[in-house]
Symmetry: C2
Subunit: 397 residues, 2 copies
């Protein structure tokens, strides 16, 4: 019998308790012994099936030698950070879905876990139930990872899908997402690219082996995206997708950012719709592989946490290869990355050609929408200086 | 310094040596020490970069205590089976891409590995460089796996893509695949569903925890697929894809088979083209997740082998959760599975309706092509008995 604790009984925490109960047979077969939730840390006691297990005193977990793994689903940094450190210091494995904590403090917490000879695992922090981090660090371990990019936020992808399919404006699509429970009352973390930004930081940390500071990563969401651009690019054979992207540069260089992109309709990411997520990983031996599925939700995310609990117990003494160095040097401004750009301007094709030379026109209808030749972001911004710009986006590939 | 041996120096074996050399820095960083190929087993000595390492005597590997991992890329059963057993008995980890050996003898070899306290790993046997088996057994360990299905053979998917895109006949598309090196002179294993069949057996073994005997698994390829059906279903909103499919049934029941299917064009598998593979896994908590990438090729497959070498060394003493029981009972005839069916008959819509009641017509043009309501394969066959059948395929979903 292995006993664990859950900290926080929100959606994911409740899901962890449910998965442990509902899939007890599968878990016991793989683990070789039963798994049991012994203690649940809450701020306020509530009635329900886990009432007997609840405590509001973290020391009940910290000082309980029978608890070998702690699942942290508190979220945010403050209490989650404090309790995670104390749990690791008490020699317990910690498993989490908390992307903010991993993105900001993961390097330090992994170093602490290493010092204490335990695991700190966080598969559920990126892609919910979709296996991404283990395949990246383990199955692709013999690769140099050159790029990771993908659709990392289901809420904004749902909104974009509604805009494309039904011609809904952003505001209406957001309201619909909120009614369906896909977006929160304050949707900022989702629609402003912050959630995707934390995830691309974690992916970049693991892919390149060095810390990427979320504060260095430009995060642009879809709040200012115009339905007009969605429609123009669609007619031109593209879909607008919010992508997080991390690219290896020569030496220790690397960059990462979140922004809406034009994705060619034949690209596998173009057909990733609704709340689905997909992560592409490009390794120098494997080429591109994609991981696809529902990126959020109680049971998928919880099942990834429980799999990490099992992994933490089985990877004895610990998984050494999951970690990265604290050094943040070598992080470059993503505006140095080259690629094609989409512009919509209040101006003519002649204006566009004067600024950019050769362009590919997507629409001329009182405004001009066009694609440039490959340019760095800095070059694109500079050459566009004299134009009355209405929209600007990167083109993938 | 960790020393390994490679058995067989064909495409994958050569790739393993290349990956070890080219990605030495990445491998050393993750492994904590350098990895070196010490010995290569060949049948006939050849000049080339690995001439110094070659031996034609397996005992040079078997008796060399410095060799901790053996990569078997001989293929087939005979010698590969014999040497794998001897290497495991000598206390060496064994890693392979040999799907035939794993499908036929995996259960026995895993039991032997367990007895000797070493790992037998075979991520590369399914999906080449695409991480599939580890995510299935490890990241989804907290799920009950209910179904696994996918495009498991790149050669036949390439041929189908040519038939759809360019209207090529099977014979011409096959010749094109052979010219490009995607299909062998004897293409039987690829186009007759045998390669996909071995892979679905391995997936079913791991997903359901019990042996699936390849001899029990009906394997139907694309050799008899008519271009006419490809075109009819395409106009109806479907793509023809060769799928391997394994389904959990109540109790210890399970079934598996390989056959061409109609895949709705909005399904993620419909857009998997050319030599790409994709595997869908449905877990009771995670829902459906998909793994996508190039399913073959020297470097992708080799990099998966090298990742397994690293995993074998790091998973100390061994990965207990990779394995299955020898019991083959409970395997059901896939003809008991229910679903919609596509038929093309030399007959009228009245004939179709007389046999099946409600049908959905796809084409009436001197023949009648239609979809039935959900039926088991046995029911579909029985109801179609009086019809002059020209084609019959399952519809996915």
């Amino acid at each position: 019998m292995v006993q664990i604790a859950i900290m926080g009984l929100g959606t994911v925490g409740t899901g962890v308790a449910r998965v442990v109960a509902e899939n007890a047979a599968q878990i016991e077969r793989k683990l070789g012994e039963p798994l049991q939730v012994k203690t649940v840390l809450v701020r306020h006691f509530k009635d329900g099936p886990y009432r007997q297990l609840m405590t509001d005193d973290f020391r009940k977990i910290e000082e309980d030698g029978a608890i070998r793994v702690v699942v942290e689903t508190i979220g945010g940094v403050d209490a989650a950070y404090e309790y995670t450190k104390r749990a690791l210091n008490a020699g317990k494995h910690v498993v989490t879905a908390n992307k903010q904590l991993v993105a900001e403090k993961g390097c330090e917490l992994l170093a602490l876990a290493k010092k204490r000879g335990v695991n700190y695992l966080f598969e559920a922090s990126v892609g919910g139930g979709i296996p991404v981090l283990h395949p990246l660090t383990q199955c692709m371990a013999a690769n140099r990872i050159d790029e990771v990019y993908g659709i990392l936020n289901g809420t904004s992808n749902y909104i974009l899908t509604r805009m494309v399919r039904t011609g809904a404006f952003f505001s209406d699509a957001l309201r619909e997402a909120q009614e369906k429970g896909y977006a929160e009352a304050d949707p900022s973390a989702d629609v402003d690219g912050i959630d995707a930004g934390r995830k691309i930081c974690i992916l970049a940390d693991l892919a390149f082996g060095r810390q990427v500071d979320p504060a260095d990563v430009p995060m642009e969401g879809i709040r200012n995206l115009s339905l007009r651009d969605v429609k123009i690019v669609q007619r031109g054979g593209y879909r607008v997708k919010l992508l997080g992207r991390a690219v290896r540069l020569p030496g220790n260089g690397r960059t990462a950012y979140v922004a809406p992109h034009l994705v060619p309709e034949e690209h596998p990411l173009a057909n990733v719709e609704d709340v689905f997520n997909a992560v592409m990983v490009r390794g120098n031996a494997t080429g591109e592989v994609m991981f696809y599925g529902k990126g959020a939700g109680e049971m998928p995310t919880a099942s990834a946490c429980v799999a990490d609990v099992m992994e933490a117990l089985q990877a004895s003494p610990r998984r050494e290869e999951i970690g990265w160095e604290p050094e943040t040097e070598g992080f470059a401004d993503p505006m140095t990355l080259r690629g094609r750009w989409y512009f919509r301007i209040d101006g003519s094709l002649t204006d566009a050609a004067a600024a950019f030379g050769q362009v590919e026109v997507l629409s001329e209808d009182g405004e001009t929408a066009f694609l440039t030749e490959p340019l760095s972001g800095l070059e694109a911004a500079k050459q566009a200086e004299g134009l009355r710009q209405l929209a600007r986006m990167r083109v993938l590939g």
